[in-house]
């Protein structure tokens, strides 16, 4: 009220105002200077920084994955293929509400808890803006159709095609070709800078078998393009383009037909077959049963499937051909017989008396012959091999001594890896005095030599090693590196000789004929496989390997022994006996008798290889890409 009574002092008000405008002016200039300095800092001082950022925004280097090399069998049948597969991915930035989108997607396609967990894991990892994260692989036609129909309400959901490895013959080559699988974090961590670049467009890597061994050749060279993209990740134009280089194709020595024959011959048994071409070392059949479908692993095996495979008592994931180490049993006898002749420990006429057991001086132990009562009064080398006379080989081993046995067996590849072009091979064990001192801390006893001579005790060999030994025997002492890949890209494989042991032709003939008698002789242990007629001659040797040790006076009685503790059945052979082409080693776990369980399988493989008589059903099966 009072101010209405006072008179306004206009001069004073104008003065005050002018001062205040002055203050405001200072404020304006000051704050605008701050803004200007901010822009100066961004545009001049930190300019380079932001140019880099802007370019990184704008220009993206995109990797163009190379096409993985294909794998063919010796006859050009496709064993590993790349097929388009449809993948459902989600671009988080483009979804309205991620959870809602996920829910909606699940009403359209099957997404299991594991897919979802993997997806969420990937979501947390470092990634580019607008990068699509895969949720489900291998969409079915139906699922793709359902997604397409509902596309309008699925913002940020993408269906993309990529090439995915496919193995048309499935389990048949699981243990030779192996499989590829998603690159895992451990593999990623092991990558160096160069590898990281090479795999920048590729999601899979060889995990097992040839896929792993030849990974670098199969992969090819990654291509790249610089593209200008917008904020949504859409490519606006390609600035430059470096095409990828496809991986090299592999052509194998393996023959799908033989694989099939061997696989079917093993049927539901646990065991393995390895067949090697004598002249080249090329492996034409390599089967381990039971096997598994490698296709399961390509886009990530489900936990349940993996658990089933991993926990099966039959060990389907275990590659018996390279990793199964078995006592070779009597299959060593032809090689040891040859050693006896080589070192002149015996000759063809030297004979022993076999009462059914053997005894060393100053040793109370009875070394038994498998045949109760023995093989008779005068057993020479031929009979000893034909009928697998243990006492003859006890005597031979004792007289030859472990040093010579070790040396000669070494030439045949025992106790060392064969050098095959598949990873994870085991070396078995071919004992020596040095080995026993080191491993057991004990001196060598004469009795140890007897055990080695019977392929028992500490002697272990993989089916592949037995096949190599047999092939070396067939080629008169020439040991070749076994090999799966016949042609890598355009380069033909040159057979590689690892060792040559000079063998006297006469000596060799003695062994060859004895081995032929095993099959063709009247009392041969494997004469059963001649049934139905045999148009060529097989030189072979049966073997039986104990799974459990027997007490001195204990009798082995199959009916009383649990199935999995029964003896392993083995058979090694080459054919045709006069001019060997193929060497085969067969092991049937707990098959008991090499003659009845293993030898017939080898015969089927020889038939398929030598007679080349594919049955109509087999041809149809293979022609159908493995689909029954």
């Amino acid at each position: 009220m009072s101010d209405h009574l006072q008179i306004k002092d206009h001069h004073r008000e104008a003065r005050i105002f002018a001062r205040r405008v002055g203050v405001a002016g200072v404020l304006v200039v000051g704050l605008l200077a701050v803004v200007f300095l901010r822009y100066y800092r961004l545009q001049i001082v930190e300019h380079e920084d932001y140019v880099t950022r802007s370019d990184r925004n704008r220009v993206q280097v995109q990797a163009i994955p190379p096409t993985r090399g294909l794998i063919y069998d010796r006859r050009g049948r496709l064993l590993a293929d790349n097929r388009p597969s449809y993948t459902l991915s989600i671009v988080r930035e483009q979804t309205q509400d991620l959870e809602q989108t996920l829910e909606q997607v699940q009403t359209l396609v099957d997404v299991d808890a594991e897919d979802l967990a993997t997806f969420r894991e990937r979501l947390k990892q470092r990634r580019r803006p607008y990068e699509a994260i895969p949720l489900r692989y291998r969409l079915s036609e139906d699922e793709i159709a359902r997604l397409a129909v509902n596309e309008y309400q699925l913002d940020g959901v993408e269906v993309s095609a990529e090439l995915v490895r496919h193995y048309p013959l499935g389990a048949l080559f699981a243990h030779s070709i192996g499989y590829v699988g998603r690159i895992n974090e451990r593999e990623l961590a092991a990558f160096d800078e160069e590898a990281y670049a090479r795999y920048s467009g590729t999601h899979t890597i060889g995990k097992l078998g040839l896929e792993k061994y030849y990974e670098s050749d199969l992969l090819g060279q990654v291509g790249s393009q610089h593209v200008e993209i917008n904020a949504r990740g859409r490519i606006l134009r390609v600035l430059d383009y470096q095409p990828p280089e496809a991986g090299k194709n592999l052509t194998l020595f393996l023959d799908a037909q033989l694989q099939q024959v061997a696989h079917e011959a093993l049927a539901d048994k646990r065991g393995s077959v390895v067949a090697i071409e004598v002249a080249t070392g090329g492996v034409v059949a390599m089967v381990s049963t039971p096997a598994f479908d490698p296709n399961l692993f390509v886009t990530g095996i489900s936990f349940a499937d993996y658990k089933a495979l991993n926990e099966s008592r039959d060990l389907p994931l275990f590659n018996r051909t390279l990793q199964g180490q078995y006592p070779p049993g009597s299959t060593l006898k032809p090689m040891l017989g040859l050693a006896g002749l080589f070192y002149k420990v015996v000759d063809a006429n030297y004979s022993v008396r076999d009462p059914g057991f053997y005894q060393l001086e100053n040793d109370e132990r009875f070394y038994r012959d498998w045949k109760k009562g023995g093989h008779g009064a005068r057993v020479a080398l031929h009979t000893a091999i034909e009928q697998s006379c243990d006492v003859y080989f006890y005597d031979l081993s004792f007289r030859m001594g472990i040093d010579r046995m070790h040396e000669f067996g070494g030439h045949f590849g025992l106790g060392q890896t064969t050098g095959i072009d598949v990873p994870h091979e085991r070396s078995g064990n071919w004992p020596s005095k040095a080995w026993k001192r080191k491993a057991r801390g004990l001196p060598w006893f004469p009795g140890d030599s007897l055990n080695v001579g019977l392929g028992q005790g500490a002697v272990l060999a993989t089916p592949l090693q037995l096949a190599v030994m047999t092939s070396t025997l067939a080629d008169k002492g020439v040991r070749r590196k076994p090999r799966l890949v016949r042609r890598l890209g355009d380069v033909e494989y040159e057979p590689e000789i690892l060792d040559t042991q000079a063998i006297d032709a006469a000596d060799w003939l003695i062994i060859d004929q004895a081995m032929q008698s095993v099959v063709h002789g009247l009392r041969g242990t494997a004469q059963g496989i001649r049934r139905g007629g045999l148009s060529y001659r097989i030189a072979g040797k049966t073997g039986t390997a104990q799974v459990v040790g027997m007490a001195q006076d204990e009798e082995y009685d199959a009916s009383k022994v649990e199935e999995r503790l029964r003896d392993h059945a083995l058979f090694v052979a080459f054919a045709p006996a006069e001019a060997p082409k193929l060497a085969v080693a067969v092991i049937v776990e707990n098959g008991e008798h090499g003659s009845s369980a293993a030898a017939p399988i080898a015969r089927k493989v020889f038939d398929a290889y030598l007679l080349d008589t594919p049955t109509a059903a087999d041809s149809a099966w293979l022609g159908n890409g493995g689909q029954p």
Binding site: H11, V21, A24, V28, I44, H47, Y50, S54
Partner: protein, 381 residues
Amino acid sequence: MSGGDFRRSMPEAHADLRRKAGLMQSLHIDLPLLVLLMALSAFGLIVLYSAAGSELHYVKRQAVFFVLGFIGMFIVAQIPLSMMQRWAPWVYAGGLILLVLVLLVGTGAKGAQRWLGVGGFRFQPSEILKLAVPVLLAGYLSRRLLPPTFKHIAWALVLIGVPTVLILKQPDLGTSLLIAQSGVIVLFFAGLGWRYILGALILAASALYPMWHYVMHDYQKQRVLTLLNPEADKLGAGWNIIQSKTAIGSGGLEGKGWLSGTQSHLNFLPESHTDFIIAVLAEEFGLLGVILLMALYVFIIARGFMIAIKAQDSFGRLLAGALTFTLFVYVFVNMGMVSGLLPIVGVPLPLVSHGGTSLLTLMAGFGVLMAISTERRRVTL
């Protein structure tokens, strides 16, 4: 009144001014201001064309608003100040009613109710208050003895507080603060005692904590946090600021050239034709373009203050000072937020950002400035 003082002190200068300004004054046009505004508008349209992805659509729309805005400015400039002063309370009251209506029946976007639809036309009632508050405050205070007493300050704060709170409720923190600012600055120009100013600053500082906990919404807090560390959420809240800084910084001194800004043309920059248009300008025209833009604003602000100082009476002075300072606040806040100095609030860059309503309000404000600038000497007392 004050005109008389001026005549008495500088008769020759005044006569000279009258002769020169004759035509313009009778049309109520402030020529320097008009030229500056047109220059700025033209520059703005050029940048907008690029920011809108080389589409004429936005430019045409904006040009139409400019034409409407300039017409509106001329009309407002013709209104005598005394009439403005008389109408101000009614406009203010009407604005408050509309604000209440907005809260009751308004339509919103992004969780806030700001718009009122009237027969297919939508507008924000808060725009009315942007002008009504300073006019009302200038009218109220100029009729009192200045500097204002505590009682008048208190009343003035009530007048400012009511619309501020109503707009805060929408919620629109940015606009409510700007409106509060436009009222408070009138108090400041009226000679508000420094002790009050100091006290208010202390109060404001101590109010930060309760503001943060009880008043601010989560998204508002997020903006502040984003300002402090945009890298924390690169793809989310931090995206805008990171991309706008990248746009500005990569422009360098001379810029990438008109229509050649990759940040905006490849859509990395959000809101590139509205609130973030300065980033497009900085990217394509570089620091030189920024300097040109700032120079235009500085000239306009300087002209505004000049008009304020020369105004005939306290009402004109306070109003012109407040409008001019408010323009500066818009420029400062917009340029500051886009370059990462201030949190992101929805403040357009005056006369450059695309957007009709705010442009019309601004132009009306310049109309008021022109009215003050060209007011005829009233023969009073």
